[in-house]
Protein backbone atom coordinates (compact mmCIF):
# COMPACT_ATOMS: atom_id res chain seq x y z
CA UNK A 1 0.00 0.00 0.00
CA UNK A 2 1.57 3.27 -1.08
CA UNK A 3 1.35 6.18 1.27
CA UNK A 4 1.73 9.95 0.96
CA UNK A 5 4.47 11.80 2.78
CA UNK A 6 4.58 15.27 4.32
CA UNK A 7 8.22 16.42 4.01
CA UNK A 8 9.31 19.11 6.46
CA UNK A 9 12.41 21.15 5.58
CA UNK A 10 13.97 23.56 8.06
CA UNK A 11 17.28 24.44 6.39
CA UNK A 12 17.92 27.36 4.07
CA UNK A 13 18.48 26.25 0.46
CA UNK A 14 21.25 28.84 0.22
CA UNK A 15 23.46 27.16 2.85
CA UNK A 16 22.39 23.52 2.78
CA UNK A 17 21.51 20.84 0.22
CA UNK A 18 18.76 19.52 2.48
CA UNK A 19 15.89 20.78 0.29
CA UNK A 20 17.64 19.46 -2.84
CA UNK A 21 17.88 16.05 -1.18
CA UNK A 22 14.24 16.13 -0.18
CA UNK A 23 13.24 16.88 -3.77
CA UNK A 24 14.98 13.67 -4.95
CA UNK A 25 12.56 11.53 -2.94
CA UNK A 26 9.30 13.44 -3.19
CA UNK A 27 6.46 11.88 -5.16
CA UNK A 28 3.03 12.78 -6.52
CA UNK A 29 0.64 12.99 -3.61
CA UNK A 30 3.34 14.28 -1.24
CA UNK A 31 3.66 17.80 0.12
CA UNK A 32 6.51 19.97 1.42
CA UNK A 33 6.30 22.12 4.52
CA UNK A 34 8.94 24.85 4.85
CA UNK A 35 9.60 25.97 8.40
CA UNK A 36 12.27 27.77 10.45
CA UNK A 37 15.19 28.66 8.15
CA UNK A 38 13.64 26.47 5.43
CA UNK A 39 11.18 29.30 4.70
CA UNK A 40 13.86 31.12 2.69
CA UNK A 41 13.08 28.58 -0.06
CA UNK A 42 9.77 30.39 -0.56
CA UNK A 43 11.66 33.28 -2.18
CA UNK A 44 11.78 33.52 -5.96
CA UNK A 45 14.61 33.00 -8.44
CA UNK A 46 16.74 30.54 -6.53
CA UNK A 47 18.12 27.35 -8.09
CA UNK A 48 15.42 25.06 -6.69
CA UNK A 49 12.41 27.23 -7.57
CA UNK A 50 11.67 25.28 -10.80
CA UNK A 51 11.47 22.02 -8.85
CA UNK A 52 9.10 23.52 -6.28
CA UNK A 53 6.72 24.92 -8.92
CA UNK A 54 4.61 21.81 -9.42
CA UNK A 55 4.73 20.60 -5.81
CA UNK A 56 2.14 21.11 -3.09
CA UNK A 57 4.01 23.46 -0.75
CA UNK A 58 3.22 25.02 2.58
CA UNK A 59 5.17 27.50 4.69
CA UNK A 60 4.78 28.51 8.34
CA UNK A 61 3.60 32.13 8.27
CA UNK A 62 5.10 33.01 11.66
CA UNK A 63 8.54 31.95 10.39
CA UNK A 64 8.14 34.21 7.32
CA UNK A 65 6.99 37.06 9.55
CA UNK A 66 9.91 36.66 11.94
CA UNK A 67 12.37 36.84 9.05
CA UNK A 68 10.80 39.88 7.30
CA UNK A 69 9.74 37.73 4.37
CA UNK A 70 6.04 38.64 4.35
CA UNK A 71 7.05 41.83 2.53
CA UNK A 72 9.27 40.02 0.01
CA UNK A 73 8.26 38.57 -3.34
CA UNK A 74 7.56 34.92 -2.82
CA UNK A 75 6.45 31.96 -4.94
CA UNK A 76 2.69 32.44 -5.25
CA UNK A 77 1.67 28.80 -4.99
CA UNK A 78 3.23 28.26 -1.56
CA UNK A 79 0.42 28.35 1.00
CA UNK A 80 0.90 30.17 4.28
CA UNK A 81 -0.23 28.13 7.29
CA UNK A 82 -0.01 28.21 11.08
CA UNK A 83 0.97 25.49 13.54
CA UNK A 84 -2.62 24.29 13.94
CA UNK A 85 -2.75 23.62 10.22
CA UNK A 86 0.69 21.92 10.48
CA UNK A 87 -0.88 19.49 12.94
CA UNK A 88 -3.81 18.90 10.57
CA UNK A 89 -1.41 18.18 7.71
CA UNK A 90 0.34 15.52 9.76
CA UNK A 91 -2.99 13.76 10.24
CA UNK A 92 -3.85 13.98 6.52
CA UNK A 93 -0.53 12.56 5.30
CA UNK A 94 0.31 8.97 6.23
CA UNK A 95 3.96 9.67 6.96
CA UNK A 96 6.11 12.62 8.00
CA UNK A 97 9.77 12.80 6.94
CA UNK A 98 11.79 15.56 8.61
CA UNK A 99 14.72 16.89 6.59
CA UNK A 100 17.15 18.83 8.80
Amino acid sequence: MSRNILHTVNQSPFTSNTLAQCLLYIDDGDAILLLENGVYAALKNHALEPQLKNKVCYVIEADLQARGLLEQDRQAHIQLIDVDQFVELTTQYNLVQSWY
Binding site: R3, Q21, Y25, D27, N94, L95
Partner: protein
Protein backbone atom coordinates in the same frame (compact mmCIF):
# COMPACT_ATOMS: atom_id res chain seq x y z
CA UNK B 1 -0.52 -4.42 23.01
CA UNK B 2 2.25 -3.33 20.73
CA UNK B 3 1.32 -4.01 17.14
CA UNK B 4 3.96 -5.03 14.65
CA UNK B 5 4.88 -2.08 12.50
CA UNK B 6 7.06 -1.37 9.52
CA UNK B 7 9.52 1.27 10.67
CA UNK B 8 11.77 3.06 8.19
CA UNK B 9 14.90 4.71 9.57
CA UNK B 10 16.30 7.41 7.30
CA UNK B 11 20.05 7.93 7.84
CA UNK B 12 21.50 11.02 6.17
CA UNK B 13 24.50 12.16 8.19
CA UNK B 14 28.20 11.37 7.88
CA UNK B 15 29.85 9.70 10.86
CA UNK B 16 32.46 11.12 13.25
CA UNK B 17 32.03 14.88 12.67
CA UNK B 18 29.58 14.87 15.57
CA UNK B 19 27.83 12.17 17.59
CA UNK B 20 24.64 12.27 15.53
CA UNK B 21 25.32 9.28 13.28
CA UNK B 22 26.51 7.19 16.27
CA UNK B 23 23.37 8.01 18.20
CA UNK B 24 21.26 7.22 15.13
CA UNK B 25 22.97 3.83 15.00
CA UNK B 26 22.27 3.22 18.70
CA UNK B 27 18.62 4.09 18.15
CA UNK B 28 18.49 1.77 15.13
CA UNK B 29 19.75 -1.16 17.19
CA UNK B 30 17.30 -0.36 20.01
CA UNK B 31 14.37 -0.28 17.60
CA UNK B 32 15.70 -3.48 16.02
CA UNK B 33 15.53 -5.19 19.42
CA UNK B 34 11.89 -4.25 19.71
CA UNK B 35 10.83 -6.72 17.05
CA UNK B 36 9.40 -4.32 14.53
CA UNK B 37 10.12 -4.78 10.85
CA UNK B 38 12.96 -2.36 10.22
CA UNK B 39 14.12 -0.88 6.94
CA UNK B 40 17.29 1.20 6.99
CA UNK B 41 17.54 3.77 4.24
CA UNK B 42 20.93 5.44 3.77
CA UNK B 43 20.75 8.68 1.80
CA UNK B 44 23.17 11.49 1.08
CA UNK B 45 26.17 11.59 3.40
CA UNK B 46 24.62 8.72 5.38
CA UNK B 47 26.25 6.34 2.91
CA UNK B 48 29.63 7.24 4.39
CA UNK B 49 28.63 5.34 7.53
CA UNK B 50 29.00 2.15 5.50
CA UNK B 51 32.48 2.60 4.04
CA UNK B 52 35.06 -0.13 4.52
CA UNK B 53 38.45 0.50 6.12
CA UNK B 54 37.26 2.96 8.75
CA UNK B 55 39.76 3.32 11.59
CA UNK B 56 38.16 5.69 14.04
CA UNK B 57 40.77 4.94 16.70
CA UNK B 58 42.80 7.51 14.79
CA UNK B 59 40.49 10.17 16.28
CA UNK B 60 39.64 8.36 19.53
CA UNK B 61 36.16 7.29 18.45
CA UNK B 62 34.40 3.95 18.03
CA UNK B 63 34.61 2.59 14.50
CA UNK B 64 31.25 2.65 12.78
CA UNK B 65 31.74 -0.14 10.30
CA UNK B 66 32.52 -2.61 13.12
CA UNK B 67 29.19 -1.80 14.81
CA UNK B 68 27.30 -2.03 11.54
CA UNK B 69 28.27 -5.69 11.29
CA UNK B 70 25.93 -6.13 14.30
CA UNK B 71 22.96 -5.55 12.02
CA UNK B 72 23.00 -9.27 11.19
CA UNK B 73 22.73 -10.22 14.88
CA UNK B 74 19.70 -7.98 15.24
CA UNK B 75 18.07 -9.53 12.15
CA UNK B 76 18.26 -6.18 10.39
CA UNK B 77 18.33 -7.28 6.77
CA UNK B 78 16.42 -4.65 4.87
CA UNK B 79 19.23 -2.19 4.19
CA UNK B 80 18.83 0.22 1.31
CA UNK B 81 21.28 2.70 -0.12
CA UNK B 82 20.53 5.40 -2.68
CA UNK B 83 22.47 4.71 -5.89
CA UNK B 84 22.52 8.39 -6.74
CA UNK B 85 24.00 9.29 -3.35
CA UNK B 86 26.78 6.75 -3.98
CA UNK B 87 27.46 7.90 -7.54
CA UNK B 88 27.47 11.55 -6.52
CA UNK B 89 30.20 10.72 -3.98
CA UNK B 90 32.11 8.41 -6.33
CA UNK B 91 31.57 5.41 -4.05
CA UNK B 92 30.69 1.94 -5.34
CA UNK B 93 28.90 -0.81 -3.41
CA UNK B 94 32.22 -2.73 -3.45
CA UNK B 95 33.51 -0.11 -1.01
CA UNK B 96 30.76 -0.79 1.53
CA UNK B 97 31.26 -2.98 4.58
CA UNK B 98 27.95 -4.83 4.37
CA UNK B 99 25.62 -6.17 1.71
CA UNK B 100 23.04 -3.59 0.77
CA UNK B 101 20.28 -3.19 -1.75
CA UNK B 102 21.28 -0.29 -3.96
CA UNK B 103 18.28 1.53 -5.43
CA UNK B 104 17.64 4.52 -7.65
CA UNK B 105 15.76 7.41 -6.02
CA UNK B 106 12.52 6.29 -7.72
CA UNK B 107 12.73 2.97 -5.90
CA UNK B 108 13.88 4.52 -2.62
CA UNK B 109 10.66 6.55 -2.81
CA UNK B 110 8.67 3.31 -2.94
CA UNK B 111 10.47 1.82 0.07
CA UNK B 112 9.78 4.96 2.12
CA UNK B 113 6.10 4.71 1.32
CA UNK B 114 5.82 1.08 2.36
CA UNK B 115 6.56 2.05 5.97
CA UNK B 116 4.08 2.71 8.78
CA UNK B 117 6.42 5.23 10.45
CA UNK B 118 9.61 7.05 9.46
CA UNK B 119 12.32 7.92 11.98
CA UNK B 120 14.33 10.79 10.54
CA UNK B 121 18.02 10.81 11.41
Amino acid sequence: MIESKKIGIILRHAPYGNSFAQEALDATLAVGLFGQQLSLIFLGDGIFQLLKHQQASAINQKTFSKQISAFELYDIERIFVCAQSLAHRDISTDSLCIDVTCLAPADIKKIMREQDTLLSF
